[in-house]
């Protein structure tokens, strides 16, 4: 079945979940819509909007920094494929011991 995810132990009825999510989100969204209709939306002018110089913690700079500091040394390492195989082996052994 497309809408049922079944493993050895566990059955997840995705259709029911989707229905429940749709019903609850429509309830909360209508509550918010009611609040917006009643009072309107106030939009104060930007006091500290994102400028070029202050880009916040999710800026592309920090993403690049993360890649350069944490990911690049691993991918540049000559033994990188070996590490990858080792990690896969570790996952495999864990899966065997758990299953």
């Amino acid at each position: 079945m497309l809408f049922k995810i079944t493993t050895g132990f566990f059955v997840w009825d995705v259709l029911k979940w989707l229905l429940l999510f749709a019903v609850t989100s429509s309830i909360f969204l209508s509550a918010v819509r009611y609040a917006v209709r009643r009072g309107g939306i106030k939009r104060p002018e930007n006091r500290n909007s994102i400028g070029d110089d202050s880009a916040g913690a999710f800026s592309s700079d920090s993403a690049r920094c993360f890649l350069e500091v944490c990911v690049k040394p691993w991918t540049d390492h000559p033994l990188c494929p070996l590490f990858g195989m080792g990690a896969l082996l570790l996952f495999f052994v864990t899966a065997i011991f758990l299953g």
Binding site: G8, F9, F10, V11, W12, D13, K16, W17, L20, F21, T24, S25, I27, F28, L29, A31, V32, A35, V36, G39, G40, I41, K42, R43, P44, E45, N46, R47, N48, S49, I50, S54, A55, G56, A57, F58, S59, F97, L98
Partner: protein, 341 residues
């Protein structure tokens, strides 16, 4: 679905809706109670009382909706509602929130973590869509806190599941009903029990929020002043409900069901035992929220202050590693015992 099944299904939905409303209301009220208690204690000690979320949920919900001028209005207004809705679907899978789980038969803890992440994604999207530097910083802090919590939670679940499999569990090791460890404490040595309690300590100390100093709220009174009204109220409700649900999962793992069931059997009525179970469980969650979580958070802050500054970030991973090693050692003891037998 046959016609005969519709009425029971509707009844299940009705009971689940009542219980989920109860969980959300209890989470909000317990947060308020904790804030009042802390304010009272701080006042008694002559300490300055920080500005609380002065207005309650209802007042905040009724105030005018406001978002910063540069915000993506639709996303900033709708995403908190979707975050709360995802949390409701998470509750619908938990046995103690619905009596009869209405979305699946097993309440899988991995699925719970996925739904938890979905609701987090909506909350982070709400912060990001504000378009201000403060909003992005809040989103980054929230993401960091959640990753820390999920790290501890995943390590705890994997270690306990592995131990249960070795201990002869013949059902889904990741199902939440497999995680009730109290009945297994009698077969565990001190190492395993310490490991389980250490995991509970780390998870409770890593609950996202402003910390134990005053409130568990996601946002202080002074944070994001341009973001107000119904979306902010929903986001605060989501934050307290999320912490409450994580606490309830930890309490579920350690709750002595056998003891309470025996009290009910003594009275001779099945419903009597169930009613006591229900009341005792939710009172325990409330007690954890008010007393145990602040204790864990303050203890963790104390430990982090006492170790050298360079190592303070490593305290949580080291405690998680210690708890995992204790449970693995317990597993090794179990295997050795089985081999001797």
């Amino acid at each position: 679905m046959a016609v005969n099944d519709i009425l029971p299904a509707l009844f299940n939905f009705f009971v689940a809706a009542l219980l989920i409303i109860f969980v959300f209301a209890a989470s909000h009220k317990s947060d308020r109670l904790y804030m009042l208690m802390t304010a009272f204690i701080m006042k008694k000690r002559g300490m300055p009382v920080p500005a609380a979320q002065g207005s309650g949920f209802r007042t905040m919900f009724r105030s005018q909706v406001s978002v910063p001028g540069c915000a993506l209005t639709g996303m900033a207004v709708c995403a908190p509602a979707l975050a709360v809705a995802s949390l409701v679907t998470l509750c619908a899978g938990l046995p103690y929130c619905t009596f009869v789980p209405i979305t699946d038969g097993g309440a899988d803890i991995i699925q719970m973590a996925q739904l938890f992440l979905l609701s987090e994604a909506f909350a982070v999207a709400a912060f990001c869509s504000l378009g201000t530097k403060d909003g992005l910083d809040h989103a980054a802090a929230e993401t960091r806190d959640v990753i820390k919590l999920l790290f501890a939670l995943t390590a705890a679940v994997a270690s306990l599941a592995s131990f249960f499999v070795k201990n002869g569990a013949d059902r889904d090791p990741f199902s939440i009903s497999s995680f009730s460890v109290v009945g297994r404490f009698s077969t565990m040595s001190l190492y395993g029990i310490t490991g389980a309690f250490l995991f509970a300590f780390v998870i409770l100390s890593q609950l996202p929020g402003k910390g134990a100093a005053f409130s568990e709220s996601l946002l202080g009174e002074d944070d994001l002043p341009d973001f107000g009204g119904a979306p902010r109220a929903l986001l605060l409700l989501w934050s307290s409900a999320r912490s409450f649900i994580i606490i309830s999962v930890v309490v579920f793992v350690f709750f002595p069901y056998n003891l309470v069931d025996n009290i009910g059997e003594g009275a001779g009525f099945a419903w009597y035992g169930q009613a006591i179970n229900f009341a005792a469980f939710w009172l325990a969650v409330l007690l954890f929220r008010i007393a145990v979580v602040p204790f864990c958070q303050l203890s963790m802050a104390f430990i982090e202050r006492k170790v050298p500054a360079k190592l303070s970030a490593a305290v949580m991973p080291l405690l998680v590693a210690a708890a995992m090693l204790l449970l693995w050692y317990e597993e090794a003891l179990l295997i050795e015992e089985a081999a001797v037998f």
